[in-house]
């Protein structure tokens, strides 16, 4: 089979630029609008409420560079992502933030937030308790009350009331963003997906750092052109799943070997935009329902393992031939799910490759392993 080398096309340059220059974007946004910027850790943060308050939410991500500034603050057995995030704060790269917040999820990223809270002066800081037992019927009413408190806190900070109308505006804006990205992902189910996994990653991750008004316009424009785009034979159709992953270098390396990522289960991918907020009824209840019922982070996926069926179905829907299971080193929630996911996917006929991410990726070693993995898939095609 011919390996297809796919150049990034202009179509996704805007998303790539927003991702690569996210700090410049946020600073310019702030200057242009005079608004506040909120740095957030973890995608359980209800951005709807922030948009309702005209605050720009910017996800705090790492820079994938070796660093030595977090050692005094976070024990080295915690994941490299949380340390990389904190490093950005300690190095002053988010000096434009007006506030920081976290919605409770894993212990690891929580430490990036708390150390940031201690050492980096910020005007506003909020820890949003968030149900871990999302399968409990009590989770939605509990989260709703937490959202009430959070909304009040934001109102006190910005000095004005957030109305239900404001909330509905926030909900509609983000729902639109989710809907548009979902439409793009639908195109990846085709025989010849019109975009690469790298492009999809730029699209979703940039959504986490860019004003959704701008992002939605770019998505609408993209969707006009994308269906007719042909980038050739996708090669092996892969899915990628695991912990936080915005390692574009890794995605690019794999796709340069002739395969294409057709979908993912990442918080920088489908977990971020699947499931919309119900636009009718009480807005805070609807927001709470969305964050309780979204595809969960493994830290919240208990006692039943709901992710398994979801992942298997996604592999079928996107006709994936193989899956790369990738996790941040030391990421306990994913480490606790990966063995059963691997076993389940293999029972369903998918080849799997497990890799651990660190702040920087050993591209040479990973390339050798991915090449071997793709060869296995190709041999299966032969027989």
């Amino acid at each position: 089979m011919e390996l297809v080398h796919k150049e990034e096309k202009e179509l996704f340059d805007q998303f790539k630029d927003w991702y690569k220059n996210r700090h410049d974007y946020a600073k310019a946004w702030k200057e242009r609008t005079g608004g506040k910027v909120m740095g957030y850790f973890c995608t359980y943060v209800p951005e709807e409420i922030l948009y309702a308050a005209n605050i720009l939410p910017v996800r705090i991500l790492g820079s994938h560079e070796p660093q030595d500034v977090t050692e005094p603050h976070i024990f080295a057995m915690f994941c490299p992502f949380c340390r990389d995030c904190l490093a950005q704060g300690l190095k002053g790269r988010f000096d434009y933030l007006d506030g920081i917040m976290i919605a409770q999820s894993c212990l690891h990223v929580r430490q990036a937030y708390t150390s940031w809270d201690i050492h980096i002066p910020t005007d506003y800081s909020y820890y949003l308790p968030h149900p871990m037992h999302v399968q409990s019927p009590h989770a939605i009413p509990y989260l709703r009350e937490e959202l009430v408190q959070f909304k009040t806190s934001i109102e006190n900070w910005i000095g004005r009331t957030i109305t239900d109308e404001d909330l509905r505006r926030g909900i509609e804006l983000i729902n639109m963003n989710r809907r548009l990205m979902k439409q793009v992902y639908e195109l990846r189910k085709g025989i010849n997906p019109p975009l690469t996994g790298l492009e999809a990653m730029y699209m979703v991750v940039s959504s986490q750092t860019t004003d959704k008004h701008d992002h939605n316009k770019a998505l609408e424009s993209l969707l006009q052109q994308l269906p007719s785009r042909n980038i050739g034979d996708p090669g092996e159709r892969l899915m990628i799943l695991g912990s936080e992953d915005d390692d574009t270098e890794f995605i690019s390396m794999v796709e340069e070997l002739g395969a294409t990522f057709v979908t993912d289960d990442h918080c920088t991918g489908t977990r971020y935009f699947q499931k919309e907020v119900n636009p009718t009824g009480d807005p805070l209840t609807a927001i709470a329902e969305r964050y309780v019922k979204r595809v969960p982070c493994p830290s919240k996926d208990w006692p039943q393992r709901t992710r398994l069926d979801h992942i298997v179905q996604m592999a079928k829907d996107y006709d994936a031939q193989g899956a790369i299971l990738i996790q941040q080193k030391f990421c306990d929630p994913h480490e606790l799910d990966i063995p059963i996911i691997k076993e389940t996917l293999e029972k369903n006929g998918l080849s799997t490759l497990f890799l651990e991410l660190d702040v920087t990726v050993p591209i040479g070693q990973f390339k050798t392993r991915v090449e071997a993995f793709l060869e296995i898939i190709r041999e299966e095609d032969l027989f």
């Binding site: 708390t114 201690i118 030391f330």
Partner: protein
């Protein structure tokens, strides 16, 4: 000539504590022979609740079990290697890996009571650490699908408690009782629940009261001994035998030791505390400290894994008073239980390290410490959470800190020689010399 400056005595109730612990593991193993029920779950689970199923209900709490395995280095390694072959990472909670390995090998850490690992009838867990519910999710599947229930208690720090947060927990508890009735086919007895809640109040209060007595100079207890005593609260804090032992035997004996000036370490000249679980296979570290006349008087971990604390009238830190309330029905019992547990000091740092630093500095001051030994424990992400920030805060408060890296349950990650050398250097920096070789 002896350099001992304080009198020492063996604990009179030591043998009783040992036999209570052994009976606990024996009862669990033999529960089915007696027509009883077995459940498994964490040491922080609301163990008072399954008590309502009857008096023939026995538990196996995972963390003390994992520690028991860890103490047996050969068995622990066998367990860890067994689970690693199933694809589980070796950086996961080492108690959890020891527990899972025991299931996989079908070996009980107490072979005198059962050669095989006794399978629980159901799992009853709570959740504040990422590994809590996932631990038993995996355990359930390794054992062929044991029914599991878990209660999320991670609702934020006690100081910010709201009705909604309590209601979330109590709602899960009520659902859990219905679930218990369904999976066991038994009718639930609220009187047994209420008794268990009162027992838990007593256990948590008196354990803290015992630890508070260690403010005395010389300290009547050393931390190595405390490990064998606090464990009863981690096995079954709501049992009458635990509450009675703490209230009627251990507390009076330690009080008496303080009054008579009986020391745990006869040549006490230096007082430290530790943090997090110790490397169980290497408790000789504590004996090594004694060569310097150094006693570890405890830790936030030993004091408050089970003990509950509050400000006393004189401004000091002491045991949380036993609630002076009449509990008349299930809902009142569950609310009291939830509220009581949410004040647990060891639950606070899950939201911010500053909450833990404040308590540790308070201990350092009130227990009159010379320094602090922090175990950067690779085996427990929950209790190591924020430990690096705790180190900075304690140092800033003026207390010398010696961090040492290890693992509570995986001896492959602990370097005893380097740790001893580090202790030598730390003691030298504190200007203490060895008293005995």
């Amino acid at each position: 000539m002896s350099s001992t400056k304080y009198p020492t005595e063996r604990l009179k109730c030591w043998g009783k504590a040992k036999s209570l612990r052994e009976n606990y593991y024996k009862d669990f193993a033999e529960a089915h022979e007696k027509g009883g029920i077995r459940w498994a779950g964490g040491a922080w689970s609301f163990d008072a609740i399954p008590s309502g199923l009857g008096e023939d209900v026995w538990a196996l709490t995972g963390e003390p079990y994992g520690a028991t395995v860890a103490w047996n280095k050969e068995f622990a390694t066998e367990c860890q290697e067994a689970i690693e072959t199933k694809g589980y990472a070796r950086d996961l909670c080492s108690y959890m890996r020891n527990y899972w390995g025991s299931i996989l090998l079908n070996k009980y850490a107490w072979p005198q009571f059962s050669e095989e690992f006794p399978k629980a009838d159901f799992i009853w867990q709570d959740h504040i650490c990422c590994s809590h519910s996932k631990w038993y999710q995996v355990a359930s599947s390794l054992e062929g699908g044991i029914p599991m229930y878990s209660i999320d208690v991670s609702v934020g720090p006690y100081g910010e408690l709201t009705d909604s947060r309590i209601n979330y927990i109590v709602g899960q508890m009520h659902d859990g009782i219905k679930w218990l009735e369904k999976v066991t086919g038994r009718e639930y007895d609220d009187e047994l629940l209420i008794n268990a809640v009162h027992n838990e109040f007593r256990s948590c209060h008196y354990w803290a009261a015992i630890c508070a007595l260690n403010k005395a100079i010389p300290a009547p207890l050393d931390e190595k001994s405390m490990y064998s005593l606090y464990v009863l609260g981690t096995l079954r804090k709501s049992a009458q035998w635990t509450a009675d032992f703490y209230e009627k035997e251990l507390y009076p004996e330690i009080k008496d030791r303080v009054e008579r000036g009986i020391a745990a370490v006869g040549n006490e000249q230096c007082r430290v505390m530790t943090d997090t679980q110790p490397p169980w296979a290497f408790l000789k570290v504590f004996r090594y400290l004694e060569k310097y006349g150094c006693v570890s008087v405890g830790s936030l971990y030993t004091f408050s894994l089970i003990g509950l604390w509050e400000d006393q009238e004189d401004g000091s830190w002491g045991p949380r008073a036993i609630p002076d309330i009449e509990i008349t029905n299930r809902d009142e019992a569950l609310r009291a239980l939830a509220e009581w547990n949410l004040s647990k000091p060891e639950w606070q740092h899950f939201y911010h390290p500053k909450l833990k630093s404040e308590m540790m500095i308070r201990i350092a001051r009130e227990w009159k410490l010379n320094g602090v030994l922090l175990h950067f424990n690779r085996g427990c992400e929950g209790l190591s959470l924020g430990i690096a920030e705790n180190r900075l805060a304690i140092q800033k408060a003026g207390f010398p800190v010696m961090p040492f890296e290890g693992n509570m349950g995986d001896e492959r990650e602990f370097d005893i020689t380097k740790t001893m050398t580090r202790i030598d250097a730390f003691m030298e920096s504190l200007e203490f010399e060895k008293i005995t070789e």
